[in-house]
């Protein structure tokens, strides 16, 4: 039974940020989290598309843009946060490793932090755009072509990355014996 994890399982674990052994229980729980996320995403996309259609018919250009950007934030951050809570709720962050693997796990945590930072960035930038555009401080062309002021978005996503990786660092336990 002692088989190596397949590439697919390792990729799924990396995406969800699950530190432990990818056995059948972990994979089935991840599938459950993924299915729930997909259903929520599909329903949200459906209803937000209908909303976009009606807004495009009668709304102003500014309203449509804010609506689309808000949907972008809801989809990216919503799904990412749902995954975080789902993985935590299913106790998939509880991992136990020999103390000798602490350095390897620290490297893994750092990679997870950078991944979260990158994944949360677009949503953060869109949120920043909504706030500024709604207040009339930003134009669409500046947002699309110049990518102005990404520093605040980088800070927001940095905070989200830290919040994401924090539980992982705390929940991994190390033991002396092998």
């Amino acid at each position: 039974m002692k088989n190596k994890e397949s590439f697919g399982v390792r990729a799924i674990k990396w995406f969800y940020g699950v530190p432990g052994i990818g056995d059948e229980h972990v994979v089935s729980e991840l599938n459950r989290v993924g299915n729930n996320a997909f259903i929520v995403l599909a329903l949200y996309s459906f209803f937000s598309s209908i909303g976009s259609f009606f807004l495009a018919l009668g709304g102003s250009r500014q309203t449509v843009l804010i609506w689309l950007a808000a949907n972008g934030v809801a989809i990216t951050w919503g799904i990412l946060l749902y995954i975080e809570f789902g993985v935590d709720h299913h106790h998939l962050l509880d991992a136990e490793y020999p103390i000798g693997q602490a350095a390897r796990m620290a490297k893994w945590e750092m990679i997870q932090f950078i991944k979260a930072w990158i994944f949360y960035f677009p949503g953060a930038y869109l949120a920043y755009f909504i706030i500024n555009y709604g207040m009339g401080h930003e134009s669409l062309s500046v947002f699309l072509y110049d990518l102005t002021n990404p520093i605040l978005a980088a800070i927001w996503s940095l905070v989200m990355g830290l919040l994401t990786v924090g539980p992982r660092v705390m929940r991994i336990k190390y033991h002396k014996s092998n």
Partner: protein, 67 residues
């Protein structure tokens, strides 16, 4: 309730060492012992082999009226 815990203790194995031998997480063994997770047939066979017993002994639940 299955008898994995009982047979594991008979073999003087910890949850961790049994998990390591069959290539799963310790938490998975804990969940199986507490009837909170239904393992696949392959995993059941692996556990039975490592504990030196068979599937019936480990997992077959005898109801009172069957006795």
């Amino acid at each position: 309730m299955n008898r994995v815990r009982e047979y594991r203790k008979k073999q003087k194995l910890s949850q961790f060492s049994l998990a390591e031998k069959i290539g799963v997480a310790r938490q998975t063994i804990n969940l199986i012992e507490n009837d909170k997770y239904n393992p696949s047939l392959n995993l059941c066979i692996s556990i039975a082999k490592k504990l030196g017993t068979d599937l019936n002994t480990l997992f077959w639940e005898v109801e009172d009226d069957e006795k």
